[in-house]
């Protein structure tokens, strides 16, 4: 135990002496959190719209107004020419074209049904799908309102009973978006980005630290001392385990103060999960350090591994959208489990019982990876 204490002191002295390294580990995560949370976003903002209103009636103007009032669309241009609209779409001046055909209102009153054409720039399929859902909803709402204003005749009288709100439909559908009703994108991304930051410290920087001793040749010196391998590994990994937890704490503080992320669950639970997760992350870092000879290699390998892990972790895109075999691979990623836990605890307020499955996975993963990496480590340095 005393040996370990001395070793740890040496490691911390080394870390605190290297100001660049220290800055890299404390300041960089905060900057990354601020930048990534703003840049890594699929948030769908106001879409510029080209309106081709060939009817120019109360009903058609009302539809355009309703779209603007929703805050999801803004009218960038309007003309009766579909050709001009198409050019605007091709040159990216607008991302959606709304065409209201002539006699729109007349068809509605006579036949009770009228079409409108909506052309969406679907280059970005995900964004287009979201915009499409807004458009459909606004059009449905407008039709509902028109039912009461446009046709105040006997047929609809039954539907517009003054006692009930004028829904004019047979089913009163209410929709609720739980946990994030305002659809704030930060609430989704920031908990995941915190995982990313902790991962970088635990895998890349820890790996580079071990490899540096290899490069300089001091690792061999350490190997011939009476220090056991377990002590050596512990002394190499523990500092980063602590620094990563400190980083997580700072990150959570920034998330709370800057991004106003809800923290509905217990923070203690978040740290408990982080403690388990870091065993896995550090184990991977240790493993990288056994196969890399230079810091440059360590950086490249951890970059490649982290890229695969992060892309397949559900950080940016939902896991369920992946093909089944890719989902199976994602299941093997500790990053995925930790992100699931972070989102569940922070955003949904999950308790220990709700997240026990990913927690067990993390613990198992950590134990296995760390053990394998430690075995590999002693083999290569002997």
């Amino acid at each position: 135990m005393r040996t370990l204490r001395f070793l740890l002191r040496k490691e911390f002295l080394q870390i605190f002496r290297d100001r660049t390294m220290l800055r890299l580990m404390i300041a960089a995560p905060v900057i990354q959190l601020l930048v990534l949370s703003n840049a890594a976003s699929f948030e769908v903002r106001e879409a510029s719209t080209y309106v081709v209103d060939l009817d120019n009636s109360t009903a058609s103007r009302g539809l355009v107004q309703r779209m603007v009032a929703s805050g999801r669309f803004e009218v960038a241009d309007a003309s009766p020419s579909m050709e001009l609209a198409d050019q605007a779409l091709l040159s990216r001046d607008v991302s959606i074209v709304l065409r209201i055909p002539p006699d729109f209102e007349r068809h509605l009153t006579r036949a009770g049904e009228a079409p409108v054409q909506v052309v969406l720039d679907a280059e970005d399929g995900a964004g287009a799908a979201v915009l499409q859902s807004y458009v459909r909803r606004i059009i449905a709402d407008h039709a509902r309102e028109l039912t009461t204003t446009l046709r105040p005749d006997r047929r609809t009288a039954a539907l517009t009973d003054p006692a009930t709100p004028p829904t004019a439909s047979t089913i009163d559908v209410r929709t609720r978006g739980w946990y994030n009703d305002e659809l704030r994108y930060y609430d989704y991304m920031v908990p995941g980005i915190l995982v990313l930051l902790v991962t970088i410290v635990a895998t890349s920087i820890a790996a580079m630290n071990v490899v540096r001793e290899k490069e300089i040749g001091t690792l061999e010196q350490l190997n011939v001392t009476p220090v056991t391998r377990a002590q050596l590994i512990a002394s190499k990994l523990l500092p980063f385990w602590i620094i990563a937890l400190v980083d997580l704490g700072i990150g959570l503080l920034v998330a709370r103060l800057v991004f106003d992320i809800p923290m509905r669950g217990s923070l203690l639970l978040v740290f408990f999960a982080a403690v388990l997760y870091l065993f896995a992350a550090l184990g991977i870092g240790l493993w990288i350090s056994t196969i890399a000879e230079t810091q440059q290699q360590a950086m490249f390998i951890s970059f490649a591994i982290n890229m695969v892990y992060l892309l397949m972790s559900g950080l940016f895109t939902p896991i369920q959208s992946m093909p089944v075999w890719a989902q199976a691979i994602a299941e093997l990623s500790p990053v995925k489990h930790f992100i699931v836990i972070m989102r569940a605890v922070l955003v949904r307020g999950a308790d220990l019982a709700a997240i026990q499955a990913p927690l067990i996975a993390l613990a198992a993963y950590g134990a296995i990876v760390l053990m394998m990496a430690a075995r590999q480590y002693s083999k290569t340095t002997r």
Binding site: L90, A126, T156, T170, V173, P323, R343
Partner: protein
Amino acid sequence: MMKPSLRGFIVKETRHILRDRQTLLILLLLPLAQVLLFGYALRTDIEQVRLAVVDPVPDAASHELRSRFAGSGVYEIVRNVPTTEALTDLFEQGAIDQAVVFGPDFGSALGREKPAELLIITDATDPNSGSTMQAYARGVVEAFEREVSAQGPRPLRIVPELRMRFNPTLESVNLFIPGLIALVLTLVSALMSAISLSREKERGTMEVLLVSPLRPWQIIVGKVLPYLGLGLINVVTVLLAARIVFDVPIRGSVALLLAECLLFIVTSLALGILIAAITSSQRTAMIGSLLALMLPTTLLSGMIFPISSLPGWLQPVTHTVPAKWFILIARGIMLRGVGLDYLWLETTILLALTAAILVFAIRAFDYRLG
């Protein structure tokens, strides 16, 4: 005709690259792996929604609507729970994505004066998936509603005829491939040429080259030219893989696309030279490339994350990122099928940026090593 000294130098550099089999293999296979990874992993289309049903008093109508959800192809009813309270646990565990709560007298209210009550609860942790799932559920309910109320008085209907231009199937991979080309070229052409040039500086062999009959610009050209060839191979690999595996279209002119790729390779090489010029060691060149090239290319180019999603103050910054212009051009040619008549502005900007970087890099390059 090229001077024999320069030709000999280029041959030597090419041999250098070809000799390091391991790095070469990584450089050739990396783009392929990335196409597969991006194509399969980075998807946002929602194909399966796990649904819970709260139906305290089941009747014929609620049964019918349930089977419609189940038969829609998207929904899978995974749970039936008695109360709305029970949903909290399921959502927290992440066991369900959405829930449908029937009003207590759903069936009997249907077709009466008062509308039947239906509550749709969606896990909106991910805002985009949340709104898409909400729209799915509304679609199912509305179709059901139309049929149920077919006999009675019908509300007015506005039928939206939606057309998804440029990417009708909403495939995410179509969006990502042009960006991936930019990423691979930044990685291979810029990063590798920067490291290769700075290695020469670090080892002191640059001095040897400088006293040779080669002019300084010839040294730079000779060092980066092989990476131009490698970059072109990568472009073709990515395009072929995208075409064969994911059926990504190239609707415009292939010749124009390749020409624009060539232009962007030159841009990347210029960036590589610039980085090598202002750094002194391989390590700083590498960290510099990662921070100054990879980060903007992945985050500020619209490659994965739409530029329109960035905060207002960050959007003007993207104008200075060459990859942004290249991606606009590549998407224009591949997905929109437009030519230079629509892309002349982007091309001009990319040309101007490239020229500026190139001039700056060659001036900054320190030929007299001190």
